[in-house]
């Protein structure tokens, strides 16, 4: 077994970047990816990156996707690093998510929700059969898609926003009351998580968590390492107008809008306090972009963590520390990657200990005599 010296690192690093760039540019089409193509044609990929990066900037996300050749973990990471350099400019007022301009809204609890169910852009009922007609798509046909869709649509007589399904249930007395504490929400970008943490810290952490990690944790609960058994009261996707006070008039003005996904789940009531009326329990999930699996997973975990925070965790998905410290993509991928770095010094130290203990095992209880210099 040999050990390789680490000399000439600089040339190797430069070479590695050029090698990766070479593979990116080896595309025979000779056409570099346009950022708007990534942002729109790969919109769900862009959605993942903005939510896991924790920064709503679809164009930067598209750039990151291009630069890191489609690696969502790396692209989200690049957005996070970008945000480290930007100052916090101002505080925005709390936005009511009820003002969302929906493009999709469904409920699995009731058929007839006020305002109606609209499936919107979804693959839920699409057959997973590959569409070979997309392989060599004709640009003219591609450009005609939008015209055809908008031309064929029925007259839209819909309101701008919709009431929440949960609010109707709450009106009937089936849900717990809204939170009494309306304190300052926890800012995970400025404060480290020191346990126990508030629910707002948990929500913020999960909102920028890695989708697959959240899904795995939530799935463990759904499968049996937990007891949430949720019903999706409402799932919505849409554009949230962000209102801020106009600098001159102080009246609310629209600063822009943010695509987001939101999910509320209802779970079976708990015995809990025998004196109190039994109520459904609730979970909430939300994230930037269009990412339904993430929002649903987060809602289930929110419900599981509420139980863990109150009664102590019985399952991993109910343990705030276990869930919240292991779902961040930037943290976990960084650490997994770091094992690729040289560990020559520590491995040498390992060898020293192993050889010493082997020596002792061969000649038990005799002084080997390698005293330290101390």
């Amino acid at each position: 077994m040999g050990y390789v010296a680490i000399k000439g690192g600089r040339a190797a690093i430069d070479g590695a970047a050029a090698a990766a760039e070479f593979l990116r540019a080896r595309d025979e089409s000779g056409e570099p990816l346009r950022l708007s193509a990534i942002e729109h044609q790969l919109r769900l990929l862009t959605s993942r990156v903005i939510s896991e990066g924790g920064l709503y900037h679809p164009r930067l996300a598209a750039l990151a996707i291009k630069q890191f050749q489609g690696d969502t973990l790396e692209a989200a990471f690049a957005l996070r690093a970008y945000r480290s350099t930007k100052p916090r400019l101002m505080a925005l007022p709390v936005q009511p998510s009820t003002s969302m301009r929906c493009i999709r809204r469904i409920s699995s609890a009731f058929k007839d929700i006020p305002g109606g169910q609209m499936i919107g852009p979804s693959y839920d009922f699409a057959l997973r059969l590959l569409r070979f007609d997309l392989a060599n798509e004709d640009p003219a046909a591609f450009q005609a898609v939008a015209r055809r869709f908008l031309g064929a649509a029925p007259p839209a007589d819909l309101p701008d926003s919709f009431p929440k399904v949960l609010d109707a249930l709450r009106g009937e007395g089936l849900l717990p009351p809204v939170a009494a504490s309306q304190g300052e929400p926890f800012d995970i970008t400025r404060e480290p998580l020191v346990f126990p943490v508030s629910r707002s810290a948990a929500l913020a952490t999960m909102a920028r968590a890695e989708t697959g990690s959240l899904l795995a944790m939530a799935y463990s609960n759904m499968r049996g390492y937990g007891d949430v058994h949720p019903t999706v009261a409402e799932l919505r996707v849409g554009y949230l107008p962000v209102l801020v006070p106009h600098p001159v008039t102080g009246e609310p003005m629209e600063a822009g809008e943010v695509l987001m996904t939101e999910c509320e789940v209802v779970a079976m009531y708990e015995s809990g306090n025998p004196d109190a009326l039994p109520m459904f329990t609730l979970g909430y999930g939300a994230c930037f972009g269009h990412n339904e699996v993430k929002a649903i997973s987060m809602a289930i975990l929110d419900r599981a963590l509420q139980k863990g925070m109150r009664d102590g965790p019985e399952n991993p998905s109910e343990d705030p520390e276990f869930v919240l410290l292991h779902v961040d993509g930037v943290d976990s991928m960084g650490f997994a990657s770091h094992y690729k770095m040289p560990h020559y010094v520590t491995f040498q130290s390992d060898l020293d200990r192993l050889r010493t203990t082997q020596d002792k095992a061969r000649a038990p209880r005799t002084e080997v005599g390698h005293e330290s210099k101390l």
Partner: protein, 154 residues
Amino acid sequence: MTIPRRNWAAALAVLPAQDLVSAAEAIAATCLVSDLVLPQSGLALLTLRDGAFHEPFHLGEVPVARAQVVLRAPDGREAGGGAVLLDDRSNIARAVAILDGALAGRLPGWETAAALVARGSAARAQSLAEYQHLLASTRVDFSLLGQPGEDDDA
């Protein structure tokens, strides 16, 4: 002008940067523009109330650019203009603030600003119509489905 001031900035922000900057420069050529705060860009936390317990939490960060100016016309009239945009271009925020001020105070150049707002509003209306199309064309009509029992995925 039928478009309320609260929607001007969002309408203007969808237009090409060059159109906004040249219109603002034309206004600044006749009116004296002073910055009340330095035009800045940075980040802001987007805070929502969660849908289950209405507890505030941070969904993530958004880029913000803001500017606030005072315009003084040659005839001595003054008007304040401001803008906060979900954007990372402080020069666009400043241009929008100038247009906002000119339009609000009917200062020289306000007609250009009004035309730009109208143009941007039309583009915005198109986007909103698209959202509605997405909903209207995918509305589930339960009177046609009419299954009596509740299905369960368990």
